[in-house]
């Protein structure tokens, strides 16, 4: 798959627009999901996904085909997200609209579905409150399935640095989710 991406990039660099279209079709969902987790806004995630692919197109002639397309692509997307977050001077991430995106549970038992939605939204909110780099590491590992080495490439850090980010993220998430679990039921209803 990596080699396919590399050859598509080479064809893109040679001006083959169909090859570039294939690359976009293959990677737009992962890029969008990453940006959604980082920004929490559909509109911004779509805009930045577009910007990311335009940049990929521009950079195609300079791309080195070393089988690292995914981390290279997500680094571009991550840089774009970072500049938006800086511009926003964000203190808190905006959780994305679960009703619009949680389509997987539509056929479930309503009680279980509601319970799962609550758990899911609590987990998402906890992930959303993580500092930017911890959040990026969690998303890249757990939702994009990148290795520590790839995450290190995306975030511009080392493999031990990634491990440390994930350890701190895990500690923070557990703390937050335990705090949510121990809240009185009436508080959750409100």
């Amino acid at each position: 798959m990596c080699h396919d991406d590399d050859s598509l990039m080479q064809r893109t660099a040679a001006g083959d627009e169909r090859a570039f279209q294939q690359l976009v079709a293959r990677w737009e969902q992962p890029v969008f999901a990453f940006l959604m987790h980082m920004l929490g806004s559909v509109e911004e995630a779509e805009d930045l996904a577009q910007d990311t692919f335009v940049k990929v197109y521009d950079q195609a002639p300079r791309y080195r085909p070393e089988g690292r397309f995914r981390s290279w692509l997500l680094r571009i997307a991550g840089n774009k997200a970072r500049s938006v977050l800086r511009r926003r001077k964000i203190l808190r991430w905006v959780p994305f609209d679960l009703a619009r995106h949680d389509q997987a549970s539509s056929g479930d038992d309503p009680g279980r579905s509601l319970e799962r939605r609550q758990t899911t939204s609590q987990v998402q909110a906890a992930v959303a409150e993580l500092p930017e780099r911890q959040r990026a590491a969690v998303v890249l590992k757990r939702f994009q399935g990148l290795s520590y080495k790839e995450i290190a490439e995306v975030l511009g850090t080392t493999v031990p640095g990634v491990e440390s980010l994930l350890q701190r993220a895990a500690a923070a998430l557990r703390q937050r989710l335990q705090a949510v679990d121990s809240r009185p039921a009436r508080e959750e209803k409100s």
Binding site: Q29, Q50, H101, V123, R142, E163, L173, L177
Partner: protein, 143 residues
Amino acid sequence: MKHVDHQIQAYCDDELPESLRRVFEDHVRQCAPCRHELEASRQLWQDVAAAPPPEMQRSVWPAVARRLARRREPAAWTWPQRGLAAAAVVAGVLMGFGIGGSPEAVNANEETVTASTDYLEQSLPSLDQLWLELGDPDEEGES
């Protein structure tokens, strides 16, 4: 007994080297606190992974393709280019009229004018294109 809780994350992520992995698993079998930590970590990451990834509502390709196509359109003339083009036309016209020149000079001037016109036609976009580009500032502003 040396605890292995600092390796739990790498173990859960399948990033612990094989040699350390065996030591880790041996330790966890015997150590209740580390076993408890490992279970808690596994549960946490299972919960995180269970959250559905946000789905795209529409492909970004049409918008990306539009942006690339827009950039491929010939760029509008810059002011120095326009000045040079105007100067070339004026020079061509003056030479064409060849103020009081001989028939040979007139012929030579005609050739110069023809060459200038050909050059302009080949190297510059048509006036229609130029008019379209200059007449659509909003579209340019979006890109």
